[in-house]
């Protein structure tokens, strides 16, 4: 079981570690700075640090977060003169070739090989422990990018990168709002996979079921059954049994099928957890009760888990990277927009409140 949780928050990096007496805050860094994304890649920590004025920075630590070195952040190349402007479909303004946010970081299958997803929609690859990055032009240059739009941010962004555990050339990338893009050859070629997803507020004849425009808030893949993926979508919960090539909506989820976060049990593809909220223009816990939901049967039924979580009124919301599960599938941690952190050591049956006074939590990751 993992005895370490790393947090990226609105005001810095924090790490909790467990010893015989329980969980304790052990490390903090970048105090006052926004840390939207973290990765622990075989003991090396990577952190995106967003400076309000001076842009997104990228840091690496090889001593558990005690000291950090700044590396060059992924950078978009100059736009070639012959490359057409891609206009944001909402505003008809060009989508800039400029890094706005690091929104996802994942190991790419070998030590020091990394994927980085960004806003405004570029996927980057590093094969040298983050020393340098290259924009994956094969995805960035897809003509369909003209249909991508922002979801919550002004421009589209890659928030989920699901690497196949047995074949790291197979990746599935979740984009808000551009559906799910799939590559079987390490990013050389791509195909859209968000078939079956739809918006409940947009008629099909208006593009409500167009895969290119879908907003999967978060996508995760089961390590033991990699063809099973789960998505918490803007309008519901979806399951794929064919490696993210098609999706089935899970209906009748109580108290809500709206939310941002999802995790799947690493060994049991039918067990997944979600953090529901009142949809979609409200975004607070249904009836003010902060709960986690769990299915153990592939979405046929859901349990509402609340033992140790706060009763109403509780206006905590979990962002899309605010829920994580450890490699054993026993421990879960959830961090909230109001700075609370809970951990469960029994698959969500009971929760322990580690703090109510952290900064707003954007990213929770077990080591």
């Amino acid at each position: 079981m993992s005895d370490r949780i790393d947090l990226g928050t609105r005001k810095g990096f924090f790490s909790y570690q467990r010893d015989a007496s329980g969980w304790k805050l052990t490390t903090q860094a970048f105090l006052g700075q926004h840390v939207p994304m973290l990765l622990n890649d075989g003991g090396t920590l990577y952190a995106a640090v967003e400076l309000g004025h001076f842009g997104t920075k990228f840091h690496r630590s090889t001593d558990g977060g005690n000291t950090w070195e700044e590396l060059a952040a992924p950078a978009y190349p100059p736009k070639p003169d012959d490359a057409p402007d891609v206009l944001d479909p909402w505003r008809n303004t060009p989508v800039p070739w400029t890094l706005e946010k690091i929104w996802s970081l994942e190991s790419a299958g070998e030590p020091g090989h990394l994927w980085c997803g960004t806003i405004p929609g570029g996927l980057f690859r590093s094969n040298n422990h983050g020393e340098s990055w290259e924009l994956v032009r094969s995805l960035w240059d897809r003509p369909e990018r003209a249909h991508w739009s922002g979801g919550g941010y002004d421009h589209p962004g890659i928030h989920s990168i699901c690497v196949h555990p047995d074949d790291p050339d197979k990746i599935a990338v979740g984009i808000s709002c551009a559906g799910v893009w799939l590559s079987d050859d390490g990013g050389e070629t791509w195909a859209q996979g968000a078939h079956g997803m739809r918006y409940d507020f947009l008629p099909e004849e208006q593009g409500g079921a167009d895969p290119e425009g879908q907003d999967p808030h978060r996508m995760v893949r089961c390590a033991a059954a990699p063809d099973r993926l789960w998505v918490q979508h803007h309008c519901g919960i979806y399951r794929s049994d064919d490696g993210a090539r098609s999706w089935t909506e899970i209906k009748g989820v109580s108290p809500s099928a709206f939310g941002f976060a999802v995790v799947v049990h690493p060994k049991d593809p039918d067990t997944a957890w979600f953090v529901p909220a009142r949809k979609d223009e409200f975004r607070y816990p249904v009836d003010g009760k902060f709960v986690v939901t769990r299915t153990r049967d592939g979405g046929k039924s859901f349990e509402t888990l609340s033992h140790g979580l706060p009763p109403a009124p509780a206006f905590d919301l979990a962002y899309r990277h605010g829920l994580d599960i450890d490699p054993t599938g026993e421990r879960l941690a959830v961090g909230s927009t109001t700075g609370s952190l809970w951990i469960s050591e029994d698959q969500g049956d009971t929760w322990q409140h580690l703090s109510a006074h952290l900064p707003p939590i954007y990213c929770v990751r077990f080591a």
Binding site: H34, L51, G52, H53, F54, G55, K57, E70, A72, A73, A75, Y76, P77, P78, K79, P96, W97, T98, L99
Partner: protein
Amino acid sequence: MAFIALTPHLQSHVDVDRREIVGATVREALDKLFAENPRLKSYLLEDNGAVRKHVAVFLNGESVKDRAKLTDPLPPDGEIFIMQALSGG
């Protein structure tokens, strides 16, 4: 003789003291500084070369006219001052 100085806020990230600077334009002068301190470039400019939205570049007390390419001519007695706008929370 032209000079450049950075806001103390920026100096907490990138150590550059007030110093003499040479160039026909603001960008030319900054490029010489970036050659010595490559990390500074990403703090001031977007990937596409424009001044970051929340960074202000003043030349002799006035905001530069060309925030996209910094083509403002740098007079011999020019004083460039770079500071942050108010943003964030």
